[in-house]
């Protein structure tokens, strides 16, 4: 690992200042589970590291009946997985968090790091995109809010500008009755990066289908939402044929790559299977 200067700012303003005044390459470190490995492998060699762990007030989970859920970016995946309020209101987020790495990893890894690292396979992304989450970001020029769907720019890239820090993830309240699943497909049951990750969320109001949300991970340069597939069920009637058609449509939204984990062809096929499985389960249990 190349030598670097290490900062431990105690407030957000200071962190932003260090990150933005530098003419040198500075990187934020949260849990470090992605960054330290990237530095070890020489994929990243920042000259400065700004540790966010000393910042107060970025590690929280809050729920309000009107506004929904707010999660501080420094919140550990392990805390999300175990949070009783998340379990009750957004169990699909617990499912997604639990699918990541090991207990050891989840004790360090943060939700902000998972999103900002912007791996196409980031397991928190499909569930949060399907929940229509928003990202609150703060930089030298002030704050802005970005929908998570627009947050990713490509593999390893986000729309964050130099000096900007992700501070909060907002998950709006879901109307009516809902049920969601996150299905992660990998070669092993644990400790594996997804070949494909599929999140399906169905909402119903007064017995009528109100919302269908399908989001996919690891099958395109960024996590994506499959809106055309959602429409098929929303516009037509719900039948086994419609489910199959929606699954085919979801596969069309993918631009997968072939890599050590899977071929492009297989990723597309498995997306069909998982979307079908997810839709069936949600429609049955909602």
């Amino acid at each position: 690992m190349r030598a670097f200067e290490h900062f431990q700012p105690s407030n957000l303003k200071e962190a932003i200042k260090i990150l933005s005044t530098k003419d040198k390459e500075a990187r934020v470190i949260a849990g470090g589970t992605d960054l330290l490995n990237a530095m070890r492998d020489g994929e990243e060699s920042p000259e400065c590291i700004v540790d966010l762990k000393g910042l107060k007030g970025l590690d929280y989970i809050k729920y309000k009946e009107k506004e929904g859920l707010r999660i501080g970016s420094l919140t550990k995946l392990g805390s999300i997985e175990k949070s009783s309020i998340v379990k009750k209101k957004y169990p699909v987020l617990c499912q997604a968090a639990h699918s990541i790495g090991s207990v050891q990893i989840r004790n360090m890894a943060t939700i902000g790091g998972n999103l900002c690292n912007a791996a196409p396979s980031a397991d928190m992304a499909p569930a949060l995109i399907a929940l229509e989450a928003e990202c609150k970001v703060q930089g030298a020029k002030g704050k802005r809010t970005i929908s998570l769907e627009d947050f990713f720019a490509g593999p390893g890239e986000t729309v964050l500008k130099k000096g900007e820090i992700l501070t909060e993830i907002i998950v709006p309240k879901l109307a009516g009755k809902c049920f969601g699943v996150y299905i992660k497909h990998g070669l092993r049951k644990a400790m594996d990066i997804a070949i494909a990750g599929v999140c399906v969320i169905i909402t119903k109001e007064r017995g009528k289908l109100k919302g269908v949300r399908i989001a996919l991970g690891a099958v395109a340069p960024t996590p994506i939402r499959a809106k055309n597939a959602e429409k098929i069920l929303l516009d037509g009637s719900v039948s086994e044929d419609a489910i199959t058609e929606a699954a085919e449509e979801a596969a069309k939204a993918c631009f997968p790559i072939s890599d050590v984990r899977s071929s492009e062809w297989y990723r597309r096929e498995i997306v069909k299977v998982l979307v079908r499985r997810g839709l069936r389960e949600c429609l049955e249990k909602v």
């Binding site: 431990q8 005044t21 470190i29 589970t33 400065c48 207990v103 050891q104 360090m108």
Partner: protein
């Protein structure tokens, strides 16, 4: 001024940090890039903590940080300041083995032993959190601790035997 050190090339300089490991305080000079694992093994000389993969996959380097298991290969030593760190050397109390340690011996759940320190700490953390885990919960909690020898059956049996 933040960053000034960088311009002057001071950033290669070591920083003095204080770590609390197994209840003892250590003052050590480290480069910012030094991992907690290296400090524990090379500077302090507690070699019970092992390095397997060095990247978070195997769990051989597991230590407790404020009561939670973490991979010490993925923690910068400088960021472990102010934390309560327990390594395998700090698990036995007054010379008595931790019940998990004794159970691993009794069940013959140790072969080469390379994974064992990590397994002990992970099992301890599990039982502290959940005194009565099911077999499935035990296996799930251990998924970040790779054992290449035993096939896990005896490890799981041993942990089951010390449930509350």
């Amino acid at each position: 001024m933040p960053g000034e050190g960088l311009k002057k090339g001071y950033f290669h300089m070591k920083k003095i940090i204080e770590l609390k490991i197994n209840g003892d305080f250590y003052e050590i000079a480290v480069k910012p890039s030094k991992r907690l694992l290296s400090v524990i093994r090379d500077d302090i000389g507690l070699t019970g903590t092992k390095e397997g993969c060095g990247k978070g996959d195997c769990g051989a380097c597991t230590v407790l940080m404020n009561g939670k298991v973490v991979n010490s290969c993925l923690v910068l030593a400088i960021e472990a300041q102010g934390k309560e760190i327990i390594t395998i050397e700090g698990v036995a109390e007054n010379g008595d083995l931790h019940p998990v340690q004794q159970a691993l011996i009794d069940y013959g759940a140790v072969q080469c032993g390379f994974c064992t320190p990590g397994i002990v700490l992970t099992a301890k953390a599990l039982l502290d959190e959940n005194p009565n885990p099911s077999e499935e919960e035990i296996r799930d909690y251990l998924s970040g601790n790779i054992c290449r020898c035993t096939g896990y059956v005896k490890i799981v049996q041993a942990i089951k035997s010390v449930r509350g």
